[in-house]
Subunit: 242 residues, 2 copies
């Protein structure tokens, strides 16, 4: 019943690595600057220097820090600002941040609507759907994995179309829909599962922002419903009230 005295089940070096990464993400360690020495880090976390070394090694492998023998260990990073508005387009948001948006089809398959999917899409339970699993990147950095569902009757061959245009905006344009908007967005967080972690190039145990959303056409008719998993360490959602 009482709380746990430490993060049971999570290796110490992992906790140290996460702590340092958090420090970087929050700006306590600025990009380009030198981290405290291994001995100092070991003292602040009350841990052996070798444990710190292992933590730093994993961060270095992921390209977050760079060690220079005799000198110190240095930082590099930056989080992508991702506004959530009724007009939410991955390519526009990433492009506005000065990065090149990329899309990549992982898998397209046929599916049938569960009760929840049917409700979101305004269809009947069991209606034929196209399920598209896609990876989205900014430059070469994976940002999110998303699973999208569309009506198979309204969007036949959506999977093949997506494979060639690699953008949801262009996909729906192909079916004559020139504009759409976000109707609902639900956000929570979880730990990445094995396959998401692999696709996002995340260490397992890292958090993802899970976003369930539905886009509708100008008449309010549902087009597509999605579940996207964003690498939490690479994005920051901006909610604009009013």
């Amino acid at each position: 019943m009482s709380m746990q005295d430490a993060a049971t089940g999570v290796a110490l070096w992992r906790q140290v690595a996460d702590g340092i990464e958090r420090g970087i993400a929050e700006g306590r360690f600025a990009a380009g600057e030198k981290l405290p020495g291994e001995m100092e880090i070991a003292e602040t976390y009350r841990v052996n220097r070798h444990t710190v070394r292992r933590a730093l090694a994993t961060l270095a492998e992921r390209g977050l820090v760079r060690a220079e023998r005799g000198s110190g260990t240095y930082v590099e990073t930056q989080r992508l600002a991702y506004p959530l508005r009724s007009r939410t387009r991955f390519s526009e948001i990433v492009g506005a941040g000065g990065h090149e948006p990329r899309g990549q089809l992982i898998e397209a398959s046929d599916d049938v609507a569960t009760r929840e999917l049917a409700r979101e899409l305004g269809l009947k339970t069991g209606a034929p759907l196209v399920r598209i699993e896609a990876l989205r990147l900014a430059d070469r950095t994976p940002i999110c994995v998303s699973t999208s569902w569309l009506s198979a009757e309204r969007f036949p061959d959506a999977g093949q179309v997506f494979a060639s245009v690699r953008s949801m905006t262009k996909l729906v344009a192909h079916y004559g829909i020139r504009d759409y908007r976000r109707s609902s967005t639900r956000i929570t967080a979880a730990i990445a599962d094995a396959s998401d972690a692999a696709r996002l190039d995340l260490a397992l145990g890292r958090p993802v922002l899970v976003v369930d959303s539905t886009d509708v056409d100008p008449d309010g008719k549902p087009i597509v419903t999605k579940r996207s998993r964003f690498a939490a360490e690479r994005v920051e959602f901006i909610v604009e009230s009013d």
Copy 2:
């Protein structure tokens, strides 16, 4: 270079526990229903039964599941829906969900404005602030820990006032502010640090939703800026577009 073949630094029993918890959170295991047997879980995760038992033991300790000897292991849970609007009041949101909102002062102290805080609050760097660290609960379940900053000149003794009224809405009402709205909200996710984990009664390694927000009065003048850490496994944010 290559990705990690498994969640290095995270114990197997922890991965199994997280997997099951995710299954519960996503509704794959409905509340009240029976989980698969320990042997079956062990097979799906390709892991020893003892490892599964340890995973289930931690979930049971946190009240997520309940084991019944000879029969099986059963689920219990529900996530709190937390809408993010320009009118965002913890007490109203929790109350609307049929729970009793509670607030608890952890610590109040004097502080001075960093450049970021000053910008958010429309003050000068170094201006005197009151910093309030508070825990918010729904019934007896901790939901979030928040650190709030207010101008010490405009809200003298804010810490003492909060300690007695235990609500941000009532606090500002005490200074004659009858209404306010959310002006900006930024969301990301992280792993809970040791003290937040303890206050939220979270196992370390569990994710939190980190929300940075600023409230303004009807004239648009900043009142308070906050950083809140929500237990991700207990809430789900709802963003309403339009």
